[in-house]
Structure formats: C-alpha cells, structure tokens
Assembly symmetry: C2
Homo-oligomer: 415 residues x 2
C-alpha cells in the first residue's frame, strides 16, 4: 500500500513513438487531470517527447485556451511533437539522465507522464529507476499508446481500436470497389504491424460484418510463397476476384521479411522494389494469373484516421491519461496504466489497473497462435470477439466547413 503523501510540484507530459488517432486524447486526459489537481503547480508539455526535456523545450499547458485543449481529443497525431529516442543504459552513460534531472530540478518537476509504446515505456522505466536511485522524489507514470497493440500486460492499447476501425471500414469499402467489374481482379492491401498481426487481423472484421478480404496474413506465422499462391488461386478460380490483406511484417521461415526479400525471377521480379509489399505481391500474382492487380498500402492513413476513430478507443485513451494523473497524485509511481477488460454475456467492460514499468518495458505481445486459423490465412472467431468491442461508437467530430477542426495550441515555451 503506497503512502498517500501529498507531493507538490510541477509535471511534464511527453508524447513519444509513432502517432495515433487518439494519443492526443490520452494527453488531454493527463493535461486536464493535472491542471485540475491541486498539488500540481504547473503543467508542462514536452516538445517532441524526452528530447524536449533534454533540450529544455517545454510548453506551458496552463497558458492554453481550455476549449482548444479539449479539441486535442479529436486531433490526430502527437500535437506536442514526438520522437524516437533510445535512452542509453544509465550505468554505461548517464549524461542524458543527469540532464533530465537538471531540468526536473529547474522546473520542480515532481510528476512525469510519458505517453507511448514499447520503447517509450523503456524510457519511462529508465527515468523512473534513475530518479529512485539518485533519491529524487518524482512520480513517473507510463500512459500506453500504440496502434500496434503489442504492449505487454494490458488487454489492449489506446490507438488500436481506432486504427482497427479505419482498417476494417477501408477494407469493406475497397472490397466493394475491387469487385465492381466482371473481369478478373486481385487486390492486395498492406497493413502496418512489423512484428504483431493485431492490425492486419482487424481487416477480418470487414469480412465478418459485410464484405472484406478473402485472405489475411499475419506475421505471427511463417509466410510461404507457394502456399500463398495456391490460397489465392483457389479463390481466383472460383470467382475471379480476390481481396488479400497482408501485414507489412510477414516473413519467410528463415526470418527474412517478404517486403525486403527478392522473389525469384520466375515469379516476376528479381530486383529490389521501391514500391511496398502490396505492389510486390500484386505483381507476383499478376505474373501467375494474368489478372488485373492492384496493391494498396494503407500507410500513414491508418494511424492518423481520426475521422473514423472509435468512441470506445477515444474515451479509453482519455481515461488512461486521467488515471495516470490520479494514480500519481494518490502516491503511485513507477507504473504504466493498463486495461483489464471483460467480454461476453455481460457485455464489454474496461477498467484501468497499474502494472510495474519494469514488467511491461521491452516485451511484445503478439496475436495468440490459436486465434489464427489452421491454414494461416485468416483469424478465428476468438480474434473477432476480442477486437469487435474496441471499434465501437462514433465520437462527435468538431468540424469547420465540413473539414476537421483540430486543436490550435499556443505552445508558450517555459523559460
């Protein structure tokens, strides 16, 4: 039981890693919660995550207009700026840590909230441990974020539900478009997720609830090109139209990513492609079948598609941010906010819990193999049951002239 000692001082909130449709909602939850907390004297937003701390570039959140701050809920990407910055082992090189401590002391920072994925939780964990080691009293909390949904210990991650909804909706629309002519056509959609197939699997929601991909390939199993060709050809022979969803991370048994490996010249191309995996596979299928083909990469669109955000995801993202502040204010530290969820007869319920940072940092959660079908070209009902609640609900979307109205922050720099 943590001691509920009142700790007074300022706080820093930082965003890190790849942006999502709802990371700003988490940050809003944390910023709003911190602004409202009596013991938090000043709320700073770090410009570009931990780099903003190192560079002494902190925005004063107290200066922002409350309405504009609230618009962060519906603003995609990381409005404070993000970074991909790997912290060194402090036992090897503690330069960055000493600098961070210097900044923390300069602004009397007693609360540090870091909003990100795997690498960011590693950063958060290292800073937390360093503060403990040097005896600097600062409560450090991780706020999860990643469309990849691969953080360990939490049912799911904020950002995943909205990306999953974007992917499922787009695949449903493409499925309609790709079947419109009475001529043969094969379409390959490439979906993010280098090591985990949570996003690619979401394409199957389209098939389950209307029309979507015939085949879905995840990176959790080895990709076999000949088996892929025969999967596709079996459907192609029957109806002349095939829609395929692939994770960018599919790889051969020897570990080579299909996106990087050369396919043998007889399969259509023997040189390194600049186009992505979708185009590469589509071209190979064109050589095999003679069909008209098209490769579509959902690219950045899938992670910044705020106009298709899931209200469930959005409100949970905000909840995670608020929960981090509440926990820290109540005395907790060195943890990440996680979700514990119930599905089934009683419906979907989600509540937050805290996990020690050291338990979540650097572990990757993959799609369980039993949620992938035996043919390794689709997901099971268990996957659908898992993902479906996460895409539910349409948020109110502030618009101006029917285009999104995003937050406009002043970003006043602290001195």
């Amino acid at each position: 039981m943590a001691l509920n000692k009142i700790l007074s001082g300022s706080c820093i909130i930082g965003q890190s890693g790849g942006p999502t449709a709802v990371i700003n909602a988490s940050s809003y939850g944390a910023i709003r919660g911190a602004l409202d907390a009596a013991c938090i004297t000043q709320v700073y937003g770090a410009a570009h995550g931990i780099k903003g701390v190192l560079d002494d570039k902190l925005y004063i959140m107290d200066e922002e207009d409350p309405y504009e701050l609230e618009l962060l809920r519906n603003t995609p990407s990381s409005e404070l700026g993000s970074c991909r910055y790997k912290m060194k082992d402090p036992d090897v090189d503690d330069t960055d840590y000493r600098r961070i401590l210097e900044i923390f002391k300069k602004y009397d920072v007693r609360y540090f909230f870091y909003n990100g994925g795997n690498d960011s939780m590693d950063t958060c964990n290292k800073i937390s441990k360093y503060c403990q080691k040097v005896g600097y009293d600062c409560r450090v909390m991780g706020i999860p974020k990643t469309i990849d949904n691969d953080l360990f210990g939490t049912d799911h991650c904020p950002g995943y539900g909205s990306a999953a909804k974007y992917i499922a909706t787009s695949c449903m629309e493409v499925s309609k478009d790709a079947r419109v002519y009475d001529t043969p056509q094969i379409t390959v959609v490439e979906i993010m997720g280098r090591h985990a197939g949570w996003l690619a699997g979401a394409a199957a929601l389209a098939t389950a609830f209307g029309s979507g991909p015939d085949l879905v390939y995840l990176p959790e199993t080895d990709f076999d090109l000949e088996r892929f060709f025969s999967d596709v050809e079996a459907i192609y022979q029957t109806n002349g139209k095939v829609l395929i969803a692939v994770s960018e991370g599919i790889h051969y048994a020897d570990g080579r990513f299909v996106s990087e490996a050369e396919v043998s010249a007889t399969d259509g191309f023997g040189h390194v492609q600049l186009g992505g995996l979708a185009v590469k596979l589509a071209e190979a299928l064109k050589q095999r079948t003679g069909a008209k083909v098209r490769g579509i990469e959902l690219s950045l669109l899938q992670r910044c598609g705020a106009h298709l955000a899931s209200e469930t995801d959005l409100s949970e993202a905000e909840l995670a941010g608020r929960a981090a502040v509440e926990a820290a204010v109540s005395g907790k530290t060195d943890c990440m906010v996680a979700f514990r969820c119930a599905r089934g007869e009683g419906g979907y319920r989600c509540e937050t819990e805290l996990l020690p940072l050291s338990e979540v940092a650097n572990y990757e959660k993959k799609v369980p193999l039993e949620w992938i079908n035996e043919a390794h070209n689709g997901v099971t009902q268990a996957f659908i049951d898992y993902a479906l609640p996460l895409i539910q609900g349409e948020p109110e979307r502030p618009t101006e002239m029917s285009l999104p109205r995003y937050a406009k922050l002043k970003k006043v720099l602290a001195k």
Copy 2:
C-alpha cells in the same frame, strides 16, 4: 417543347465506368423514381452496365426490399456492377446495337438510364441516336457520375464532392502525422485524375482550412522536374518538413507522364518502377535532400470512401437520378442531367437542367488555368470557392456493430 405523350413500358438502369462513393445514390434516385412512376411497368437493373443488356442479365428491381434499396444511398461502388465497354460506331458495326434493340423489345424497354462518366455518355448517346434512327420509341437519359469531375456542361459531377472531401480530410490528417518528429521529412501524396486536376486541387482545401499540402501539382500545366525540386527545397530549407500533393496525371512538356517516364539516373533511379508516382518522386527527393521520405497513394480509397461522403454530393447524386426519370416520364429524351449552380452572397444553390447528350459526350472539362497559381504549384481562391460547397454536410451513415451497413440486394434475374 417536347410533347408530353405518356409512354408506357419498362426501364433499364445501368452503371458504368469507375465507381464512386455516390453512384449508387444516383441509381437509387432513378430506381425509386421509376418504381414510383405509373407509366413505368417494370424496373430492371443491368448487371455490369451495357454488358448486362448485351448478355441479357437484368435484375428485377421491383423484387427488392424497399429498405435495402434505400441503403444503396450509402453503399459505395457500383452495386449493380460496372463495365468499361467502348461501343463501336454503329455505321461500321451495328451488331451490339441490334442486340440491344432485341433486348429492349424483349422486355418492352421504353426508358433507358445510364449512369456514368465521359465514355458512358458516349455509349448513352450512341444508343439514343440508334433508337431514333431505327424508329424505336425509347427515352434515353444520361445520369452524370465521375470523381474526376471532368464532364462537360455541368457545374460539377456527382461523386466529385465526396472524393474531394475524402482527399482534403486525409491530407489534413496526413499533414498532422507527417510533421510529428523534429527530423526532416518529405511526404508525397498521389491523387487520382489522369487528365484533370479537380481531385488534386481538392487537397488544397486541407491547407485552406487547417493544415495540408505545401505544394499541389495539377496535370493542366506541364511538370518541370527541376522547378519541382526547387519548389520543394525552398520549403525544406525553411522548416524541414514538406507535404506535396500530386495528380497521377502530371506530365512533362513533351507529354510523357511523370509516372511512366524514367528520371535520369543521377536523380536516383534509372529503371522502371513498379511503385507509383508518389514513391518515385519521394525517392528522387530523398536523393536530393537526404530527408526521410514517404510516398502515399490514395488509390481506390479516395473513390470508395463512402464513410466520408459529402451530404451535398449524396443528395445531389440522388437528385440527378430522380431528375432523369422525371424528365423522361415527362417526354424528354436524348439528354444528360446536369447541374447549374450559384455561389456567392446568397449561398450555394444547385438545380438540375438537361443537356443534349451529343453536346457532353467525349468532351473533357479541365481546371481553368486561371484557377492555378502562377508558380503552377497550387490553386487559387477561386478554386477553393468552387470546391468548398461541394464537400459540405455529413450524411447519416447506417452502421452495424460500428461498421458500415451496405445494401444487400437479391438481384433476381429477369427471364
């Protein structure tokens, strides 16, 4: 003044050319109008446009559930199936025309509605003239449709507003995502429109109302690679981030499409690319600047993105379908429905008018040169004023488990 003779018989509605987010709304308008018209005895939908007529594959629309029919309004792509079929000159080869006449007689078809773009209006025109020539009493009406917005004589085309809204919204989201790190990044977004820049120009709506591309290139002017590099580098030097929108149809002064031409080896690649134009330009910019680059192709997503449809576009699309039936029932024939619009002080107003098919078939309407800026890397306020009303309004979107619920038609074949 057309004679208002009551013509009794059945009708055929066909969809043709590339699908859009709202072509089914036009077809719904025509189908519903025809079902409600006393003089129209039976309503058929042609499977895959004129090919369905030639193949005697007609769906009986009277058999469909009214609720499912109404869902066509929000169902993207061409639900009856589409085709790209070029009709021969009947004076050279009248085989198809004699077959069409045979089918028209078999089903007592006295009304023919064809929903499509330039090529489809050519088909429509030829069939209309043939019926007149052989003295077969059939009222033929074209219903416009094309995301390309290049049909002659009409203020704009159904399908354009929704695609424009998808493009503007996506560019706004990508703009947020592509500027998130404090490291240099250049992003190129490729937009449809082989010969006309209406769609690429719509990307500028994002810039006008929040954040969007810094540079927009349309196919109406010649593309100059060196000028492009200097445009990009000027912005790159200043802020390290550049977002560029290009039409797929940009071409050099000698007419070669940039997407197909080889760029000199010193510019980074000397071999034919499988990846599209965006990747090609992005790679060339990487060679020049050393920046991280990304090419994004909006691909099919921009034409089937019904979840971002413009209500203005959707209701005008339906209106065009209904107007075609009303005009034909009232005695008109051999025309395409067009829009005449007013913008300005009194707000936006749109009404339908009829144009002779022979006047619209085979002409392409391009973006006026005076709506493109002097540097040929953006559009003027006149373009914004033109396009903005067309993207207004959010339609109600029927959903099921937070995913789109599309029409499920029985498609009962006529015998």
